[in-house]
Symmetry: C2
Subunit: 407 residues, 2 copies
């Protein structure tokens, strides 16, 4: 592949939704998302690929094969978090494009078609659930329901797709792939710590998101004796502390995060009337994840009782751990070895479109190192040589799959 | 006094900035504040009082006395918190007006003039510091500096005063009172618990507001191992818990509150990069308040060190405890007794304009019960008979002061 072209396109794409501090804010289905999509679609058009847009706005570009067999598919997403970097998601889409462009320019036409997908709303920041586009693509959610999902302002996915011109008419799924492989930045420190260039991803950790609302009694901070208070900020603080302690107790790859916490009315001299917070739990083992959820719930209920708070818990996302296809993982390792890149096996702690695709075809992912393990941040960085290495491993893996008549 | 007229005016005033749930949002120098001021000024005009507006927007209406001596002053403020009730502040202004109207209608003209003040920005929600109008009135802050104070959107006090038409030209102070007495709802549960109708307020607790910013490392909640995290949400939670524990340890009338807490970027799947929170500490004893501040600072520094966070602490408000004039407190008690109302002495945990006025003349306050001790909330309520009792005690107290040639 042409590593320079890939890096230049990543930089060009990062201008869509660029923020002053160097970060990118390209929330799903915003004007910035449209700008990013338009840029990528223009590059796809230059290669004269067969393009489709489906009802949830997934864009799929297909390089025809020598025969009309089910394609090998790759891809990722173009949306970002509110202050993200330029690699998360974008790399997977643009590396797929780079693989196809490399083949086109080399005059190589594989047996099977190659499909490059850009899935809608992977991050789940603006609309829940995350991985919405790939979920619908795989039949995990009805299109009608997906189009009705609303952001915090009450705007629906359907209306925003119309508005930005990406509510397409292609059938769902627009293609039925024989295999799926996604290149992505690791977003964690494991590859860097192990000194490996390529991660062969064996699966994705299960994810549990819980929204908790604690309701107490808003009151004057200067006149309400401590003993008469029902202060949801104290309850929320207890939960934040518990989530960390629980994660350290469970150990292994278990993760627990309170990323969002809102007090109301959120004023210096008012005991808050309510607190709203989210708990993100992740574990590669289904039983351990379920146990963590039960302990969290018990703790929240006990704490609400002690502090005289009303509490409401809602599971807003629940994804079981996903195991990727063994043979596909082997193939990624072999591709890395054939290119003399060091490879390590690891589990993804983050959710990815690939875990949806794993429902319908043999799937795996390729990781490249994230500097300092940093992601979802303007400081997100992957070295250009690692980007190139990842795209080359993707090319080898796709080519190997695309030349197989039978799996 | 006419209790019905007082209650009707409180209800009419509450329509300025009325919120759907029954609360009032009349933040200082907003359109709602203008509407409330205009209403009160119209009532003052009906009584043909001598009105002045000074450079910080304090409105003072004066009923002339038989002689041109320094006036007895009363009053409070018309601004509210973001979701407040209809009594906090408004009662003190409208009861002062009611006292004057009662005297005018009865044809009583006291020896000394009576001044009724409405002070600007007492709550300190929109502009810091709180009690800004009375602070400037008492010479505690230069007018120029006060006019440059900015709200969260960067708008200055001066520009907003211009905009709503309350940047007056009266000298500061517009009057030099011989005494000041403010009627206010207690905003706490003490009078209700003691079964008393009138509170004779002996002083105001010292107040300390600290803004704390904790900066860690924003990162992906699914890929960042627990041990590598620098999570400011955990630090903030530790502070919330500590502030409560400290208050319970210190005991007595000490209060500690974290009312405001903001995480950034505040997203479910991102380890926060920073947390900003406020700590409100109150104590009637200066030494105890200072000790609480020192312990808070030491705890925050230790916690930041342990969690690898950068921390920045800023004292944004610091008011020493204020002791009111003994003779004035006695007079309030005598006035209550002469009207056969039960009275109790207590210290105010909340800040009030009266504590500023105490710098320049003998001062005290009269409290009436708050149902359930609730304030700064739409549920704030004081029974009509308590409103009337408070206004009658205010009338007796003012009359007694206004007939004294010498203090």
């Amino acid at each position: 592949v042409d590593g320079r072209r890939l890096s230049e396109r990543l930089a060009a794409l990062a201008r869509a939704g660029a923020r002053p501090g160097g970060g990118v804010c390209r929330l799903a289905l915003t004007d910035a998302d449209r700008e990013g999509r338009d840029r990528v679609v223009a590059w796809m058009r230059e290669l004269d690929l067969r393009m489709t847009v489906d009802g949830i706005g997934n864009v799929v570009a297909v390089l025809p094969g020598r025969e009309d067999l089910p394609p090998v598919m790759t891809g990722s997403h173009l949306d970002t978090v509110a202050d993200g970097g330029r690699y998360d998601g974008s790399l997977g889409v643009l590396a797929g494009l780079e693989v196809v462009e490399t083949l086109v320019r080399a005059g190589v036409r594989p047996l099977r078609p190659i499909a490059v997908a850009s899935f809608t709303n992977e991050e789940g920041v603006r609309f829940t659930p995350d991985m919405l586009g790939s979920l619908v693509f795989c039949g995990g959610m009805d299109l009608e329901q997906a189009l009705e999902q609303r952001d915090a302002a009450g705007t629906t996915v359907g209306d925003e797709l119309e508005r930005i011109g990406y509510r397409g008419s292609a059938p769902i799924p627009s293609v039925r792939p024989c295999a799926f492989v996604e290149l992505h930045v690791e977003q964690g420190p494991v590859l860097e710590q192990r000194g490996a260039t390529i991660g062969a991803v064996t699966g994705v950790a299960g994810i549990s998101w819980t929204e908790i609302e604690l309701v107490g009694q808003a009151n004057h901070a200067g006149t309400t004796p401590m003993c008469g208070r029902r202060d949801p900020a104290c309850g929320a603080a207890g939960i934040v502390t518990f989530v960390r302690r629980l994660a350290l107790e469970i150990g292994g790859s278990h993760l627990g995060t309170v990323g969002r916490l809102v007090l109301r009315p959120n004023l210096v001299n008012v005991v808050p009337g309510s607190a709203e917070l989210t708990v993100d739990l992740r574990n590669g083992d289904e039983a351990a994840l379920g146990e963590a959820e039960r302990r969290l719930e018990a703790h929240v209920e006990e704490l609400a009782r002690t502090d005289g708070l009303r509490c409401d818990m809602r599971r807003v996302v629940r994804l079981q751990p996903v195991a990727f296809d063994e043979e596909m993982v082997d193939l990624v390792e072999q591709s890395a070895e054939s290119l003399a890149h060091s490879a390590a096996r690891l589990t993804s702690g983050a959710g990815h479109d690939a875990q949806m695709m794993a429902r319908v075809c043999p799937t795996t992912m390729i990781f490249v190192p994230s500097r300092g393990g940093v992601s979802h941040s303007p400081e997100e960085h992957t070295a250009p040589e690692h980007l190139q290495a990842g795209a080359n491993v993707l090319l080898r893996t796709i080519l190997a799959l695309a030349e197989r008549r039978h799996r």
